[in-house]
């Protein structure tokens, strides 16, 4: 060591002296931000080292931390996975419960609505065999169930009881090949016999080829089989193939669409009407024809329009009329009206009133006017029509009565209709308030056949159109 120092003594001393002077410079010199160079140099010299140390320390700590965390994370992952599995099962169970509750609710609603006497039952077992189309219900002869009773759901028929035991009953589903029931189509009332095929869809036999059955058409029980009361939904025609002598019609049973859990056993069936299919030529509301005689100026002007200029013009015309002065006639020096004179009383009141609430007085004026006036002035201010009492021309395409109904659609129809005077047509006598209740649009146009609302369609089996 000593030899080494002796060998490099000169250069060592040189470096020491240089270094000392560098430090001296660093202590004195400041940069633009008034920071001493020694500080800058120190920071510059130290921070990279510190950064390296920190990187190494962070990496090491991170590595061990990650290792420990990974060790814990593996355990957490296992636990969370188990929890997720448990929650999935629970979620599935709850979904199933909700579905069951919804079906039970629908079942109760259907039970209350239908005229037939029914008994709610639950499916407790399916028949043995892979292709079995038989289920067991938890109600049997002890509950009044007898062999041959139909089994339905709010969605449609399910099958019929083929055996009644004291505490259970056996039901043959409509998909069973031995099942048969009389059905009739909703639209064209084409009768046929529904037969199971052992598959998802059922077949409707004995539909003559000349009868018209459309895909998507609903089939209902016809009641001919003396098992199912008339009017229960069966299913929708999915396939219609022309054949001779009978068409091939496949129906998708609606009663089995959502699975079988709860059903209704019809103890005493009551025939009910088959719901009418919405006709393509359903009546469409038509507005009243325009008033006779051109329909213009049927209401005498009762006052100026709403602007100040109009009211002033109206006032000056009245003054001119009272003083026998015709504006725009005569040369220089002709008689000039005294515009400071008071407006004649009768007209003045009207004019003043007109400048105020044309609408309120307008109803009275309208009442005094002809009964033909289909549009009261009182409504004019609210319907956006001119308050000067000039009825809109027929070319405007807004019949007065329609305007009344439109008002009614805004919730004031009944009262305005009565105020608005005689309705020219019976159709028009219907208050628009009713229109709102009946779901008709405010413009009085009946719902389009493309969007029918079957009056007694099954609650959850609205046929797809």
């Amino acid at each position: 060591m000593e030899t080494l120092l002796n060998r490099y003594r000169n250069i060592t001393v040189l470096l020491l002296v240089i270094f000392a002077q560098l430090v001296l410079i660093a202590v004195q010199v400041r940069n633009d931000q008034d920071v001493r160079m020694v500080r800058i140099w120190s920071v510059t010299a130290i921070t990279p080292l510190a950064r390296v140390l920190e990187t190494v320390r962070g990496g090491t700590a991170g590595f061990f931390g990650s290792y420990i965390l990974m060790h814990d994370a593996r355990e957490d992952n296992r636990r969370l996975q188990a929890e997720v599995d448990h929650l999935k099962m629970e979620n599935q169970y709850l979904k199933s419960e909700i579905s069951t509750a919804d079906r039970a609710k629908a079942l109760v609603a259907f039970q209350a609505r239908t005229q037939s006497k029914t008994l709610a039952a639950r499916v407790i077992a399916a028949g043995a065999g892979a292709n079995s189309k038989v289920v067991f219900l938890d109600r049997g002869s002890g509950s009044g169930v007898e062999r041959g009773m139909p089994v339905v759901t709010p969605d449609g028929i399910v099958g019929k009881v083929i055996a009644a035991y004291p505490t259970a009953s056996e039901v043959m589903l409509i998909t069973d090949p031995e099942f048969a029931a009389g059905v009739v189509s909703q639209k064209n009332h084409v009768g046929g016999t529904l037969k199971g095929q052992g598959q998802t869809n059922c077949k409707v036999d004995y539909v003559p080829s000349e009868e018209k059955v459309e895909v998507g058409e609903w089939f209902y029980t016809s009641g001919d089989d003396r098992v199912f009361p008339k009017g229960f939904p069966v299913g929708v025609a999915r396939v219609v193939r022309p054949n001779s002598p009978y068409q091939e019609v496949l129906v998708e049973p609606s009663g089995l669409e959502h699975g079988l859990e709860a059903v209704l056993i019809v103890l005493e069936g009551v025939h009910q009407a088959i719901p009418e299919a919405p006709a393509a030529n359903a009546p469409v509301y038509l507005g009243a024809p325009p008033p006779a005689g051109g329909g213009e100026a049927t209401i005498p002007p009762t006052g100026p329009a709403g602007t100040d200029a109009d009211r002033l013009l109206h006032k000056y015309r009245q003054i001119g009329a009272a003083q026998n002065v015709k504006f725009g006639e005569g040369g220089v020096g002709a008689k000039v009206a005294d515009f400071n004179a008071k407006v004649p009383a009768s007209e003045g009141v009207q004019a003043e009133g007109a400048s105020g609430r044309a609408g309120e007085r307008g109803s009275g004026a309208a009442a005094a006017s002809e009964k033909k006036t289909a549009q009261p002035v009182g409504d004019a201010s609210k319907t956006g029509k001119p308050a000067n009492g000039i009825a809109p021309s027929p070319a405007a395409g807004v019949p007065a009565s329609e305007g009344v109904q439109a008002e009614g659609a805004r919730g004031r129809a009944g009262e305005r209709a009565s105020r608005g005077g005689a309705a020219p047509d019976k159709k028009m006598s219907q208050p628009a308030g009713d229109a709102r209740k009946t779901g008709k649009p405010a413009n009085g146009i009946a719902p389009s056949p493309a969007h029918p609302l079957p009056r007694s369609a099954p609650p959850s089996t609205s046929p797809p159109q």
Partner: protein, 177 residues
């Protein structure tokens, strides 16, 4: 290399080491510094003479001791810095320390009694001094100063000539062996 050549370049170190009295080592540099800072006030052109550098080179060359040379350079440089208000202490100190060190290193290897050698060495060390100073000013102080090579070369030649003359007078201050 011949024997005479060896003697010219290397020589006998023991024989060539010059000794100076302490007061010479003290007052000559101070006089040079005083000249550097005082005389140019009256004679601008004398400001181009770098007498402290010439003195540093001379003592470093003649003493032939690296440590002695660097300390002489550091001392003269720091003294010069201390009289220069505009620059921090250590700028000339570092430069002259290095000049003293390298001059002494050169003096160990070649015969510095020859005037031509002295002229060349002085010229070289002047250029080295100016260049190193420029580097330090730019590097440490961050000042955008320019380095004029031609001017530096001319002044280097001037200082070398003056230096050879000065060295001749300073030789008389050496103690006899």
């Amino acid at each position: 290399m011949t024997e005479s050549g060896d003697r010219f370049l290397v020589g006998n170190q023991r024989e060539q080491v010059s000794r100076f009295r302490a007061r010479v080592l003290l007052f000559v540099p101070l006089a040079a510094i005083l000249f550097q800072v005082y005389v140019p006030r009256f004679f601008d052109f004398l400001g181009y003479l770098e007498l402290p550098l010439l003195v540093t080179i001379y003592f470093a060359l003649m003493r032939r001791s690296q440590i002695g040379g660097l300390f002489i350079g550091a001392f003269i440089g720091l003294a010069q810095d201390s009289l220069s208000i505009k620059q921090p202490l250590g700028m000339f100190g570092i430069v002259k320390t290095l000049v003293g060190y390298f001059a002494a290193s050169v003096g160990l290897r070649i015969d510095v009694e020859h005037s031509v050698i002295r002229l060349l060495l002085t010229f070289f060390f002047y250029f080295f001094h100016q260049f190193l100073y420029w580097v330090l000013v730019r590097g440490l102080l961050g000042k955008p100063v320019s380095f004029e090579i031609q001017r530096t070369l001319v002044l280097g030649l001037l200082n070398a000539v003056v230096g050879v003359t000065l060295f001749h007078f300073l030789d008389r201050l050496r103690e006899p062996a």
